[in-house]
Subunit: 354 residues, 5 copies
Amino acid sequence: MSESLTYVSEKVGMMPGTLVHVGSVFEAETKISLVDYNKDTIEENNIFSIEELIKYKETDTITWVNVEGLKNVEIIESIGQMFHIHSLVLEDILNTHQRPKFQEEDEYIYIVIKSLALQNEKLSVSYEQISFLILDNFVFTFRETSDDLFSPIYQQLKNSKGRLRSRGSDYLAYAILDVVTDMNFVLIDSLDIVIDSIEDELLTNPTSQTLVKIQQYKRELINIRRSVSPLRELLSGILRSDSTLIRIETHEYFRDIYEHVIHVSEEIDSYKDILAGLLDIYISSVSNKMNEVMKVLTVFASIFIPLTFIAGVYGMNFEYMPELKWKLAYPVLWVFFIIFSIMSFVYFKKKKWI
Amino acid sequence: MSESLTYVSEKVGMMPGTLVHVGSVFEAETKISLVDYNKDTIEENNIFSIEELIKYKETDTITWVNVEGLKNVEIIESIGQMFHIHSLVLEDILNTHQRPKFQEEDEYIYIVIKSLALQNEKLSVSYEQISFLILDNFVFTFRETSDDLFSPIYQQLKNSKGRLRSRGSDYLAYAILDVVTDMNFVLIDSLDIVIDSIEDELLTNPTSQTLVKIQQYKRELINIRRSVSPLRELLSGILRSDSTLIRIETHEYFRDIYEHVIHVSEEIDSYKDILAGLLDIYISSVSNKMNEVMKVLTVFASIFIPLTFIAGVYGMNFEYMPELKWKLAYPVLWVFFIIFSIMSFVYFKKKKWI
Amino acid sequence: MSESLTYVSEKVGMMPGTLVHVGSVFEAETKISLVDYNKDTIEENNIFSIEELIKYKETDTITWVNVEGLKNVEIIESIGQMFHIHSLVLEDILNTHQRPKFQEEDEYIYIVIKSLALQNEKLSVSYEQISFLILDNFVFTFRETSDDLFSPIYQQLKNSKGRLRSRGSDYLAYAILDVVTDMNFVLIDSLDIVIDSIEDELLTNPTSQTLVKIQQYKRELINIRRSVSPLRELLSGILRSDSTLIRIETHEYFRDIYEHVIHVSEEIDSYKDILAGLLDIYISSVSNKMNEVMKVLTVFASIFIPLTFIAGVYGMNFEYMPELKWKLAYPVLWVFFIIFSIMSFVYFKKKKWI
Amino acid sequence: MSESLTYVSEKVGMMPGTLVHVGSVFEAETKISLVDYNKDTIEENNIFSIEELIKYKETDTITWVNVEGLKNVEIIESIGQMFHIHSLVLEDILNTHQRPKFQEEDEYIYIVIKSLALQNEKLSVSYEQISFLILDNFVFTFRETSDDLFSPIYQQLKNSKGRLRSRGSDYLAYAILDVVTDMNFVLIDSLDIVIDSIEDELLTNPTSQTLVKIQQYKRELINIRRSVSPLRELLSGILRSDSTLIRIETHEYFRDIYEHVIHVSEEIDSYKDILAGLLDIYISSVSNKMNEVMKVLTVFASIFIPLTFIAGVYGMNFEYMPELKWKLAYPVLWVFFIIFSIMSFVYFKKKKWI
Amino acid sequence: MSESLTYVSEKVGMMPGTLVHVGSVFEAETKISLVDYNKDTIEENNIFSIEELIKYKETDTITWVNVEGLKNVEIIESIGQMFHIHSLVLEDILNTHQRPKFQEEDEYIYIVIKSLALQNEKLSVSYEQISFLILDNFVFTFRETSDDLFSPIYQQLKNSKGRLRSRGSDYLAYAILDVVTDMNFVLIDSLDIVIDSIEDELLTNPTSQTLVKIQQYKRELINIRRSVSPLRELLSGILRSDSTLIRIETHEYFRDIYEHVIHVSEEIDSYKDILAGLLDIYISSVSNKMNEVMKVLTVFASIFIPLTFIAGVYGMNFEYMPELKWKLAYPVLWVFFIIFSIMSFVYFKKKKWI
């Protein structure tokens, strides 16, 4: 069952405002890592309670808090209280079956997207929900699992004194969003290889397994599309936004992501067309194979059935069958058998049935 | 015949303004239950005549009147008179073949939606029409049947002194709407399981019954879609509305439902694609089976027809057939028969026909 | 040939402004009936010349003039002159191949719609064009034929002193439009029954006639759709109109029709999907039947062809065939024949080919 | 190759502003006919040099210049200079592979459309490009060929003193446009007849030629659509235009054409659906025919293969076959043969295979 | 693998702002050619360092700098610094997997498009990305490869003193864009020929290779479409732009390209429909061929199987078979054999199976 189908039904019957983690990935522990930086200084930390964040609230530095693992509901709740986040937003962060969206409030911006990754060569795609809270000097990211997806950004922050360090929280958010959406390009490339291999299989040795694969990839494509296509709307929402939290000079960067997202969406759409084409090839190739089988049968039957009839005739026991007495009858008949076979063979050859 | 198809034709020829219950579910009795509450007090009641409502009109408390069973037209009529509801709205409440819609008047808001529930594992979906009238301090809900769909809200009202108790009639309406639309998630989950089981059946043992099932679910999906997709428009209507009956702080909550509805709509659309894919698999698997049958026939015929011809030849009664006298002819022929069979068998094996 | 296809080509080459009746229904005589009413009085009349209308022009009463049969072009022309109707509108009234539309002028509103009726159970749908002219105190309706479609309105006008009598010409137009569009619900119900019967036929005994029926209904559905779907646009035109001829309090009623029309359009669209599904079932069932035929052939051939070969072997006339002398050879061979048949039969049974 | 496909590639590499005739129809000579009229007078003329037009420029009369044959590029060039037409417009007039469009300049309006005509009953449609230049008192029409398409307008101008004579250049342009677009109705009617005949052929005697025809008409329909559907946009452009060259009272007339164009577009769309349906019927009827063939084969084989086996058994040469000696064996066997045949026949009859 | 699919994944993990050439075409050397002109003078040059551009910055002449080969990242970087181009734009120039787009800044306009060319008759389309920077007196073009695509413009600039020399940088940009988009017409024409040849092949001798070709062209069409259809949006962006860099009198020219682009898009869309039609023909023709094969088999089998049975009957060894003694039995049987064959033959002929 696909990730996005297990769904909210777990929460049906609960009142809105109840904070519960809804999802299938349960990290053993919630891990909070913090980077606090400005142009000149940088400080990296793992923190264990939300109270530690208070001191960063009063500084002018940009603080990035990355929460990995959503099991510990109290952490989300404390962040919500400390930064005045709406309870519905908190619920959305905890419910990992969200549709990607962009929501703009007075004091913060909430973004939720899906990070897609190909698990292995069997095209089993994993979906991870990543939530962003962008405040004036704070960026919160909430992830379901813990891996090295964000490491290029940590590198960038630590090593360089470049653009990232000298800009605001909106640029940091952009950089993270860019890393996550770039994963889609990797996915698309893998898809391309997979589809090419199916096409080869179809043309050389189509089996009913090939059909199953096509259908399976079609379903996966539908799922991918459902995660990727809302990004379009999300980013055009960011671009249209007049929130002061996203500076006008950062718009250019978000527009860059916007174009990537359109590009990926178009690729996915064209894969859908290509998969439909593969199905047509499959169906035709099944018909072609049946044609081939039928031709073999027809050629064999058309040559030997008449000959068998002739042999049957001279196997009859009538007393008065003059040919039976003829000395040359038997060899002549063999000549006839052979000529008839050759002519039939040539005829079917000419018809391209053999 | 699907619920929504029996339709308004029952009312054709009547003049507008005639109040008649049009529907297929007739409850024995109309049951009216009332909850009147504010932050501090709560009163639960069953009432038997609309006149009892008068006293609640003058208080500041929120009053929720839930009418179950629409047979008793007079009740609807009295409510209409007492609260100045337009006669067309009253007609719509009574006619249970409405398309979900949101209608905004000066003094009240009228919402009509469908509550979908899976009856049993045979994917027979039941549709119940639920109408809402949202007034300043009143919420009316009109249902066709009586079950425990609303019980979480009663629980919430009675037990807690939380958000629901301290907010207005718009928040109550939201809470009810949320409960009803959440049922769609349950339905979607069931659909997912059903479709997975059809897919398994297709790949292991497709019969013509499988095809019938696919078509049946396709029709059901069309019906579900017709009930769910207008919700999108309905909720964006609520969000765009500038009626004072829906407070600005409640908008956030309706937007939450809006996103759920989009999510469900997208799921349903993708199921349509998946069902279409299943049909393709079915058609291909029928072709595959025919292929298999044809191969068996062709292998048998191609091996034995030539051999039968040879046997027929030596069954001929010519006087001068030298082979017939040869001592070794018969065993040699058997050797030929066997070698020919084996070679043919190997050939077809190599061609993957066996 | 469908009604809407015989088309305007009859008029090609004529200059605009030429009033000619274009249509396929020619009533022997044009019949004009008139109802003049207000809250207190009502007068019903058949009139024979347009001059009789002059006296009603000066009163405050609502006058409904129903013209049945369009052969008599002069009548239309006189009405046009007397009430200052644009000549293109007059042409449209006479040309019964119009697309439904709403046209708003300073002094009048012109509406043209199609009245659909199922002729008999063979789903032959008849299309009648009905034109409306709505003036301040006048409503003109122009019909091609004469039947009792409008009788509920006559009843309503005569019998009751209700809403219809006390309102303006816009409400009368609404009432008539409502009666005509309600006919679509009746049609939709019939369609539903027809499609269910085709589905039954498909599953029990599909013939090539079934396919012809599906295609025929598909074409009819396309025609129906072409008559119904412009109604949507027509009614939203009325609702958006700021003509003083349609009072603000009547809008509510037209919106009611608008919703019915959307409902019907959606039904028709879903029928299209369902018919497409039926076609898929048909094609699959044809394949299934061929499968069945092939299996019978294959079973017969696979059992008897090898046996015939064996019989042929012992029909050979070699001098040295030791088995021929064996006493038990013949019964043993019969035993073999029977065992082989039974085993083959069991094998095919297990493969579900029998 | 379809007309619109030979295309502009002939002009690739040329600089914009180069006036060249691009097209496939080359008239021997360019013919210029002129009608100059007002309410009272009318003058008809063939002119041979553009200079003759100067005198008409100063009068108040409406002058219609119809240029037939585009080979003579200088004529177009002189008109362009004399009336200050943009060089890109002149290029468009000469390049007969334009998409229908409406272009509005300060001093003139440029319209280009396609005139479609059915060449013969083989549905070979001819496309002619007709360009319009509408000035204050001038209308230019540019055609590729010379035929009697415009004769109704000449008639109207000469004979009557009606609407056409008393109105401006915009009404003349309307009248011409009306005549050209009305040709589409004629085409549609022919299409209808052609499609009906294909459907008959499909149901009585489908051959592979029928399929070729369907595909051919499908392509032609695509071409027709490409010429007709931009008219919608073109006319709504005219209706939205606030150019003083199109008087407000003429809008009504253009709206009439607009509605015709929508009508024709919808017809063409529905033909596309119908043709797709025909293809489905074709494919099904091919399957049906194969079914029929298979049934014949199966019936013959299923009856005679077992009987042949029996005959083969009694043709064996075993010494000890007691039945061979029985006196009644032979007639009894015949009885069995006949009973078996009849029973098989009845069985297959019951199964509707015969 | 299609060009646009190898994609940005090469850049995943890099920070925005890193200038790297991403693409598959690596020219050995970057070549920069420069044309500087005004109405009176023209100077053509190859330059080797960007510093040489400084002197042209101060003149009023139009300077066109054409950069061929993108390997040398420093060149792009220097241009960026000298003309204040945003670093994201520089990245886009270097990343040759861009989607065509139009981006408008205060001091320059950035356009990126794809130049499509048919490599050979095998419909292998090559895609080259061409970027434009339009400044007040400068036009930069960036190409991946070096060929004679721009030579008509060089010719035009050198030879004539026409429009091109007397207008601004916007007109130069138009002229280049026009040359590039005109290549699409050439491509479309080639496509047309290719599709016609496939159709011929389908009707005369369809093989499974034909199917592979159809699918291959379908994929190529999807790719072409992805490069061409964003041009629509791009050009309507230019037309809507109020940048002073594109003079109002040049708009007319860009609108001309806009219409060409729409034309090409529509052609491509219709090819998609036509290819889908070809697939239908293919599938039907495969069925037709199988039908033909089946008919041959059935005719042979239906004639000879009964005859063989008869021959088998008279090959039985019963002692009491009176016919065996009849003198005329054998010739009479032959007569029967021949009459039966002829009648069967006539019957199948009448059924059009032979």
